[in-house]
């Protein structure tokens, strides 16, 4: 699962700080305890020296300090003392403390000395020391609090600071999703103080510019190639035409020449369609004015009547609305409607109908079919042909799409209902 960069570092921080603090706490505890025992032991050794001095000056304490009293030491005579009598031996013991009503840790120094008379005595000095378990618990609690506070601070800082810092990145992403190929203005560079994002901006901009350049030169190439084809086509067609004027040709020869010419005309038509596409894509049709679609539809229906009658297709115009005004390029409106109507006639069934229903804000062109629903994902693609169809160059609907992509006034829907294709031009 992807996690936001804001939280991406958090799990590492939580674990790392936990480990660091645990190690630190152990070391801290060990060093501190060492220092504490060192101090206590020094104090006990100092006390030992003072007690031995006192015993030399004042030997009766040897007799009345056989038990721990207020002095917290006791002196006992030792029989058969060895060499190690005056060696310092430290230990930790639990001794009952009335104040706490329980055994508490004491530091005990066991040693010995010889009195002025040369008699051996053992000396035991004790002093209350730190309660290690309590100390450990307290240490753990305060460290725990510290840990939680640090983690919370980091999370908060990450949340706000990183959120702020990554904002330009988020904006860049949004802009990228809004970017449309062929429209450089649709991507805007986000100003940022973060070096990496600035770099990202530059690279994205650079990439877009490069792609647009390639796209642009590809479009130009298409246009230039189509243009360059026009002249040789013109020469060939016109030469054939001159040849066909020769009255000595027989019918068979004429038919062959005519066939060659017809094929060339298909090429011309394909070439013109490609040129038209590239011209539309290159925004060469810019002059827009308020165009009334109705007279265009009427005159197209009039033009197409003969073809329709020949194909046994009935053209029906429904609705008595006089005006369907759209801010549009007049030539493109003509091409748009012409392509849709021609398709409706071409892909009809014998004795079928083409119905143009004009509403206040939509023009619905429907035709009978027995092909079933078309896939709207493909029909607008270049050179897509539903069935193998020699009478089509497969560019009609992609020209329609290109025309509609370059304006914001109307949109086109396709639907299939009870044996009819519907192409609906809807005002936005």
């Amino acid at each position: 699962m992807a996690v936001s960069v804001k939280y991406y570092t958090n799990r590492f921080i939580v674990i790392t700080i936990l480990i660091v603090m645990a190690v630190w706490a152990l070391l801290f505890y060990a060093i501190l305890m060492d220092e504490v025992y060192d101090n206590i032991d020094d104090g006990l050794k100092n006390q030992k020296i003072e007690i031995i001095r006192e015993a030399y000056k004042n030997p009766e304490i040897l007799e009345n300090t056989k038990e721990f009293g207020v002095n917290q030491f006791k002196i006992l005579p030792v029989e058969g003392a060895d060499d190690e009598l005056d060696k310092n031996r430290f230990s930790k013991e639990f001794i009952y403390m009335p104040y706490d009503e329980e055994d508490e840790p004491y530091r005990v120094l066991r040693t010995g000395f010889y009195s002025k008379e040369g008699k051996a005595y053992s000396l035991e000095i004790r002093t209350s020391t730190v309660e290690e378990d309590d100390y450990l618990i307290n240490l753990a609690i305060s460290l725990g609090v510290l840990y939680v506070v640090i983690i919370l601070s980091i999370l908060l800082i990450n949340h706000f600071v990183l959120g702020q810092a990554w904002k330009p990145f988020q904006l860049t992403l949004d802009n990228l999703s809004r970017y449309r190929f062929g429209d450089t203005a649709s991507f805007k560079v986000v100003p940022t103080k973060v070096k990496e994002f600035e770099e990202l901006n530059q690279q994205v901009k650079h990439m877009i510019d490069r792609n647009e350049e390639v796209f642009e030169s590809q479009k130009r190439f298409l246009e230039n190639a189509s243009h360059e084809l026009q002249t040789p086509l013109a020469i060939t067609i016109n030469k054939l035409e001159l040849l066909m004027n020769d009255t000595t040709l027989n019918e068979d020869q004429l038919v062959k020449l005519s066939g060659a010419k017809a094929a060339l005309h298909r090429m011309v038509s394909l070439n013109r369609s490609l040129l038209m596409l590239s011209r539309i894509d290159n925004n060469q049709y810019v002059v827009n004015d308020l165009v009334n679609f109705i007279p265009i539809v009427r005159s197209l229906l009039d033009d197409l009547e003969d073809i329709a009658v020949f194909k046994g297709v009935e053209l029906v115009l429904e609705g008595d609305i006089k005006e369907f005004n759209v801010n549009f390029n007049r030539d493109l409106a003509q091409i748009l409607l012409s392509n849709l109507l021609r398709n409706a006639i071409k892909y009809n069934i014998p004795n079928g109908k083409v119905v143009v229903a004009i509403g206040v804000d939509k023009i619905e062109i429907s035709n009978d079919t027995n092909s079933g629903a078309l896939n709207p994902d493909y029909i607008f693609e270049r050179f897509y042909k539903g069935s193998q169809d020699n009478y089509s160059n497969g560019l009609g609907l992609s020209i329609v799409r290109s025309i509609l992509e370059r304006q914001h006034e109307i949109e086109l829907f396709y639907k299939y209902e009870s044996g009819k294709h519907f192409f609906v031009l809807q005002k936005k």
């Binding site: 026009q230 020469i235 035409e241 066909m244 004429l254 005519s258 020949f310 194909k311 009478y391």
Partner: protein, 223 residues
């Protein structure tokens, strides 16, 4: 009628020249900017056919100097660069019409005739053949002294036939010139057959001394 063709593609130039000479035009030609300029400045023509992309300069510049010299000179632009801007600009500078390459000769002829008809005294507004006369300006067809009512397309078809009687007129040419620029070339053109049939019937009923003959699989001719 005197025509000047300024066109850098020699083969195309020769074809157009051949065709127009067959149609009994007096044709002169130039295949570059300088040559075109030279001819334009020194002679007068009924119409100039002008290509836009020329070696040595733009046809549009030629058009400008031509219009400076003689505003009434008729000009038909022939261009392979069939771009909207060029078309608009050419017509703004003063060209009479614009024909994109490749074109049908019949269409070229019709355009030349209609420009000349509009601009000069030479232009015949009425075309006569046998006992039929066709008045372009008023769009009236007379057989003997009787008016023959035709619809728009029938009239246009007859006009194209009358421009070149006894010459073959192909179906594709008819479809494109009469039924509009956007006729898909690949459309089935058999629908023209029934239109021709109607026209023939009307001509026959009016006792016109001309007929339209089918040239099987190719087109028709007026006899």
């Amino acid at each position: 009628m005197k025509v000047l063709i300024i066109e850098d593609e020699v083969e195309l130039l020769r074809s157009i020249q051949d065709f127009l000479e067959q149609e009994r035009f007096l044709v002169e030609s130039a295949d570059n900017y300088e040559g075109g300029m030279d001819k334009i400045l020194n002679y007068a023509y009924d119409i100039v056919l002008l290509d836009i992309m020329l070696p040595g300069g733009s046809g549009l510049d030629l058009l400008r100097s031509l219009k400076e010299k003689n505003v009434n000179q008729s000009v038909l632009i022939l261009s392979a660069k069939d771009s909207v801007d060029d078309k608009v600009l050419g017509l703004e500078i003063g060209a009479d019409d614009y024909l994109a390459k490749p074109f049908h000769f019949a269409e070229l002829l019709a355009r030349i005739k209609s420009i000349v008809r509009r601009n000069t005294q030479h232009g015949e507004t009425i075309i006569r053949y046998q006992n039929v006369s066709l008045d372009m300006d008023n769009r009236i067809v007379m057989v003997d002294e009787q008016e023959l009512p035709l619809n728009r397309k029938e009239f246009d078809m007859l006009y194209y036939f009358l421009l070149r009687p006894n010459k073959l007129l192909e179906k594709t040419t008819l479809a494109e010139t009469v039924w509009g620029d956007h006729t898909d070339q690949a459309d089935n053109l058999d629908f023209i057959y029934s239109q021709i049939k109607n026209l023939r019937k009307k001509l026959k009923d009016a006792q016109a001394e001309l007929d339209i003959q089918a040239v099987y699989g190719v087109g028709y001719k007026l006899v």
